[in-house]
């Protein structure tokens, strides 16, 4: 059953897909080929669906891990420089920036959303990268930079999010929070 399909075909994604694309594609396709799926049952027999599911799992296990994916790509003779760079820029800078800048960036005397934004931009970190790293939604990160405390369900959330944000751009979290709170109260 469709044995020549490579893992990318199985998940119906291009070889340029990012890790997020792979996760989404996996989730979608698992729903399509679940047992008694409306869209699939009349074309495929139960055994075929089982085989397909197995292929999907296999594909996901390999592609969701960047190490195994890389070695799989080599067997397919895919040399995707573009993606490799993209992946690197997706994951590396935050970590490296973190390590390098954690001690180097002193917390400024006054911390507001604007100040945070300029510090972030000086490190060339995008909100998207922070969002991916911390799992905080873009909307909340934007609200932090816009000093909109009303966007959060409670101060507790703002505090937690801001601290994570601060450590991503290399600021000392607790001190940053204290000063940010002061700016908000003023």
């Amino acid at each position: 059953m469709a044995s020549q399909d490579n893992h990318y075909d199985t998940l119906q994604i291009s070889t340029h897909a990012t890790t997020a694309d792979i996760i989404n594609a996996y989730r979608d396709i698992k729903l399509i080929f679940q047992e008694n799926s409306l869209a699939a049952y009349s074309l495929y027999s139960a055994e075929e669906i089982a085989t397909i599911n197995q292929q999907i799992e296999e594909a996901y296990v390999i592609l969701s891990n960047s190490q195994t994916r890389l070695s799989y790509d080599i067997t397919l003779h895919i040399h995707d420089v573009e993606r490799a760079e993209k992946e690197v820029s997706h994951h590396m800078p935050i970590e490296s920036n973190n390590l390098q800048s954690a001690e180097t960036t002193p917390v400024p005397s006054e911390v507001s959303g604007k100040v945070l934004q300029s510090i972030r931009e000086s490190h060339a970190i995008t909100l998207l990268q922070i969002a991916e790293k911390t799992n905080i939604s873009l909307a909340h990160l934007k609200a932090i930079e816009a000093n909109q405390s009303s966007a959060f369900p409670g101060v507790f959330y703002l505090k937690s999010y801001l601290k994570q944000y601060a450590s991503c751009i290399g600021l000392e979290p607790c001190l940053t929070w204290e000063k940010y709170l002061k700016t908000l109260k003023d």
Binding site: M1, A2, Q4, Q12, D28, I29, L31, I32, S37, L38, A39, A40, Y41, S42, L43, Y44, S45
Partner: protein, 318 residues
């Protein structure tokens, strides 16, 4: 009366859209009629042709009461201009070729009659010609569907409807591939027999195509070329459950995986009791409830189609 020719635009060729579904009652006529309305609302001349031969009722969906002309006249008379059969409606830019008072044997259209209708469809003076086809997988339906520039499949989130849609596409592919040379057919048969031997049953169409490309690349490419001519679109109709929205995307993926066909998801329409209400009042839904979410969806679909078409034609010119 806007549909009648404005002589100057004689050379323009209408874009023909065929609306079909494997199963009856999923809303072909509704989609066809209201999509025609939506095209007209965008000031594109649109003519709906009722090819649900023998059980035509597109005129009711459009709210046209007793059409005076019918498609049968085209077959009965020699040298008749198809444009004279277009029944004007009270909506500008829109017309209908009705089948309401067809001859009673219209359902069994003969081959040469079918060809005559097809030939004449191209002469319609309009931007869009929408064919409302009958349910099922009869030759007439399949041939009109294949003849059209764009095919639109209507499906509703019900096992029977989805099943029959796949069935329709299978019949469609078989019909489309019948024009291949004899030699190809022999090779195709060989591959199917082999699959049966190896797996116990015939595999997916995509698998068949892959085998064909591997073993007989020339013939395989020929088949692939034939398939690329098929322009398939999908409308999911009568959605009731929020989870139903996923059906369109799911079918898109399955079409690619099983048939190796590209399916363009045109849009989704919700179940709405007002459809019956509009029918009872014998008015078109699109006109009676222009602010309903389905009417807005239809409007957007028409917009999408027009835009894609513009890009295509402009691309060719450039």
């Amino acid at each position: 009366m806007t549909v009648k020719n404005t002589a100057t635009t004689k050379q323009r060729q209408p874009l023909i859209w065929a609306v079909a579904s494997g199963k009856g009652g999923v809303g072909k006529s509704f989609v066809a009629a209201n999509l025609t309305m939506a095209f007209a609302a965008h000031e594109k001349k649109a003519v709906l042709v009722d090819l649900d031969l023998g059980s035509a009722n597109a005129h009711t969906c459009l709210g046209i009461n007793h059409p005076k002309t019918t498609l049968s006249q085209l077959l009965r008379h020699k040298n008749i201009d198809i444009n004279s059969l277009v029944e004007p409606s009270n909506t500008p830019f829109m017309g209908l070729i009705s089948g309401s008072s067809d001859d009673l044997d219209m359902a069994n259209l003969k081959h040469f009659q079918k060809l005559k209708v097809m030939r004449n469809l191209r002469h319609l003076d309009a931007d869009f010609v929408i064919l409302d086809l009958g349910a099922g997988t009869g030759f007439n339906t399949l041939d009109f569907f294949l003849y059209a520039d764009q095919g639109l499949l209507t499906v509703m989130p019900e096992p029977t409807s989805v099943e029959n849609t796949y069935r329709f596409v299978k019949s469609l592919l078989t019909r489309q591939l019948r024009s291949l040379p004899k030699q190809s057919h022999a090779l195709m048969n060989d591959i199917l027999i082999e699959q049966k031997k190896d797996y116990g049953k015939i595999q997916s169409f995509a698998q068949f195509l892959a085998d064909m490309l591997e073993k007989h690349p020339e013939h395989g490419k020929n088949i692939q070329g034939n398939l690329q001519k098929l322009q398939l679109n999908l409308v999911v109709n009568q959605m009731m459950d929020p989870a139903d929205t996923k059906l369109g995307d799911a079918m898109q993926i399955i079409f690619h995986k099983y048939f190796s066909l590209n399916l363009n998801l045109l849009g989704c329409l919700h179940h709405d009791v007002h459809v019956t209400q509009a029918l009872k009042q014998r008015q078109s839904y699109y006109q009676l409830f222009p602010q309903s979410r389905n009417a807005i969806c239809l409007h957007r679909m028409a917009e999408k189609v027009i835009k894609t078409q513009q890009i295509k034609t402009n691309g060719v010119v450039n």
